[in-house]
């Protein structure tokens, strides 16, 4: 049958099982949009390509499967870059397809020409410039294989318009790209790991996003209980353990619990799984867990020894490795060590005013929100104070229920990712917790939300500041505030109504939590603007560059919330 490059691309995506695409059309990619007629693929028209990138990320983060975003050449492609770089740092499988000017015009500074291949090269797992239909047939399945295999990540495919318009007879289609299995660790390595853990007196699990990526959350829970080891999680691993699991010590690092960070210094063996010793987690790395013998399991061999040398370093898939480990590891009990963990956790709770006194204190607000949501609700955030309050206070208990921009720290992630999550997990309640700074970075996607009428609630924690910047200026720059306060106030509820959505502003003087409950009880999308105190700080906090045990738990009396 006679095909064009565009209909080949469509067919390859259909064969790949892709049923939803997010993007924005434009000159160079018009042949593909024409080819979408008659396809079962649903196209989501976002209002900015970055929104399309994060929408696809939301789908990928809830499903674990590669999702696709599309953009035209030039500004369409450059607008995708932030979402691609974000997927790279959080190891999210994403296939970003961009159109390019016709090959005859490449290198001539043609209209909407930009070197997309060069721009995506350092921020993707791999990237392609497709030069012919033959290459297209090979590249699209390979892009999915690369995005999903090993350590997942984004793959960019740039396709010149003449390739989309070229014609060819296709009699045999290539097989869809599938995830390749990761080579298993040697049995001797598993034995050595089992021996190390069996000999530990004070073992501790340090769980990273790779545990969720590998679908190994249940196994990590089983391991913690099997060897009676407390577990700490990174931001990316929240939800791996149940919030009320006595072995769950919560998040480590810059905004982790002080008890959690102190306990890590007392461990004799730390088993890091799918974690990359990121600076926000370890603090000053030379002083990170100085007493501990480190075992490190990661699917990416380049992570082993990158930041911190491990006594035992294993390259492998977390699910496969933990399954084998559990078979040959005897059960253990460490009552004194578990008691010490409980003691430290109790000694350093999250400090916040009583809910009756200050119901809209962020910690109280997030806990109230959790009580109002079903257990399987998905929470996305933007980046800043609200993100850390959610990480600290929301009782995440299932993997893939907390979607956040961890590595790149991209403000503007939350709303489009929430829309993608609602598309990827139909029927579930999705809440985007944002701030008044972050929400403005992709607020145009409220229009996409209005188009789709999905059950997404957007909560804007509004302190009229770039709060985390303000906090750092208060704590570390002598209260010399600079460009962290917004001079005009924005009526976010009115903006939401302008997009055709429900918009609510909570009145702090009139049962705000009751108002929150009724706003969330009604079906469909809603934006809820929540005034919070502008001087509220995220605590505890490890000063940037300091060791984790030097965490600050209170600011000076003038601003402390005791």
């Amino acid at each position: 049958m006679q095909h064009t490059g565009a209909t080949i691309l469509r067919t390859l995506l259909e064969r790949q099982g892709i049923h939803t695409l997010a993007g924005i059309p434009g000159g160079a990619i018009l042949p593909f949009y024409d080819a979408l007629h008659g396809s079962g693929i649903r196209h989501i028209l976002t209002r900015h390509e970055q929104g399309a990138g994060f929408l696809a990320q939301g789908m990928a983060r809830v499903t674990g499967r590669a999702a696709v975003c599309l953009a035209t050449s030039g500004p369409g492609a450059t607008n995708l870059l932030t979402a691609i770089a974000d997927a790279r740092l959080d190891s999210i499988p994403l296939v970003a397809i961009t159109a390019q000017v016709p090959q005859a015009l490449i290198g001539t500074d043609a209209f909407q020409e930009v070197d997309t291949y060069g721009l995506t090269l350092p921020i993707t797992k791999h990237n392609f410039l497709v030069r012919s239909i033959d290459e297209l047939l090979e590249t699209i399945p390979l892009a999915f294989t690369l995005a999903e295999s090993g350590r997942p990540g984004p793959v960019a495919v740039d396709i010149p318009k003449d390739v989309l318009n070229a014609r060819a007879e296709i009699s045999v289609w290539p097989e869809p790209g599938r995830r390749r299995a990761t080579p298993p660790c040697a049995a001797t390595e598993i034995d050595a790991l089992a021996a190390l853990l069996a000999g530990a007196q004070r073992p501790l699990l340090y769980l990273g996003g790779g545990v969720i990526g590998a679908g190994a959350a249940e196994l990590a829970r089983a391991l913690a209980h099997h060897i009676d080891a407390p577990a700490v999680t990174t931001l990316m691993a929240l939800g791996t353990l149940a919030a009320d699991d006595p072995l769950n010590l919560g998040m480590l690092g810059m905004h982790g619990g002080k008890g959690t960070n102190l306990l890590m210094r007392e461990a004799d063996v730390i088993f890091a799984i799918g974690a990359r010793f990121d600076d926000r987690a370890t603090g000053k790395v030379a002083e990170f867990c100085p007493q501990a013998t480190i075992a490190h399991l990661d699917i990416d061999r380049a992570e082993l020894g990158k930041i911190r040398a491990a006594t035992l370093a294993l390259a492998g898939d977390a699910a496969e490795t933990l399954t084998r480990l559990l078979r040959r590891l005897p059960a253990q009990v460490h009552p004194a060590w578990r008691g010490r963990a409980a003691e430290l956790r109790a000694a350093y709770p999250l400090i916040h005013p009583s809910p009756a006194w200050e119901p809209l204190h962020p910690v109280n607000l997030i806990r109230s929100l959790a009580r109002l949501l079903p257990d399987d609700a998905i929470v996305t955030t933007d980046v800043g104070q609200h993100q850390m309050w959610v990480a600290q206070a929301f009782p995440f208990s299932r993997p893939r229920t907390f979607l956040t921009s961890g590595g790149l720290g991209t403000m503007g992630f939350g709303l489009p990712a929430a829309i993608g999550a609602a598309l990827g997990a139909p029927g579930r309640r999705v809440v985007c917790v944002s701030g008044d700074g972050s929400i403005l970075m992709n607020i145009q996607e409220l229009a996409t939300l209005a188009d789709l009428d999905l059950p997404v609630a957007v909560l804007v924690c509004n302190n009229a500041h770039l709060g985390l910047v303000r906090q750092q200026q208060e704590l570390f720059y002598g209260r010399r505030y600079s460009a962290s306060r917004f001079q005009s106030s924005t009526d976010f509820a009115a903006i939401a109504r302008g997009f055709g959505l429900r918009g609510v502003t909570l009145d702090p003087e009139d049962d705000p939590l009751g108002q929150l409950a009724s706003a969330l009880a009604a079906p469909g999308p809603v934006l809820i603007d929540i005034p919070i105190h502008e001087t509220a700080n995220v605590l505890p906090m490890v000063p940037p560059g300091a060791a984790n045990h030097l965490t600050i738990t209170a600011t000076e009396p003038a601003t402390a919330h005791a």
């Binding site: 090269l121 410039l129 990416d300 380049a302 020894g305 990158k306």
Partner: protein
């Protein structure tokens, strides 16, 4: 005090897919991971589908990390540490 027993540079040999982006992927990796790349020789193999590259790089503790990062590149098919080729090999290519 510099370690006189270890030469300051060493050589990596790569076998790579021969296409226009492969060189950018490799040189870009060195630049963004802040690892010195002092010289490159690249020659296509007989079939022109693959090329062989010799890289003169700093012989420091990050070398193993760089080898692992290189191995992750889709276009890099093989990485070998060639301690047997000295920096003199590159000196001889000066014109």
């Amino acid at each position: 005090m510099p370690d006189t027993t270890q030469p300051a540079t060493t050589v990596l040999e790569l076998r790579v897919r021969n296409h226009p982006g492969a060189m950018s992927h490799i040189t870009g990796l060195f630049a963004r991971r802040a690892f010195n790349l002092e010289a490159i020789v690249c020659v296509p193999e007989a079939d022109h589908a693959t090329s062989r590259m010799l890289l003169l790089v700093a012989n420091d503790p990050k070398l193993e990390q760089m080898q692992r990062q290189l191995e992750k590149l889709h276009d890099v098919l093989e990485v070998r540490h060639r301690g047997d080729i000295g920096a003199g090999y590159f000196e001889a290519l000066r014109w």
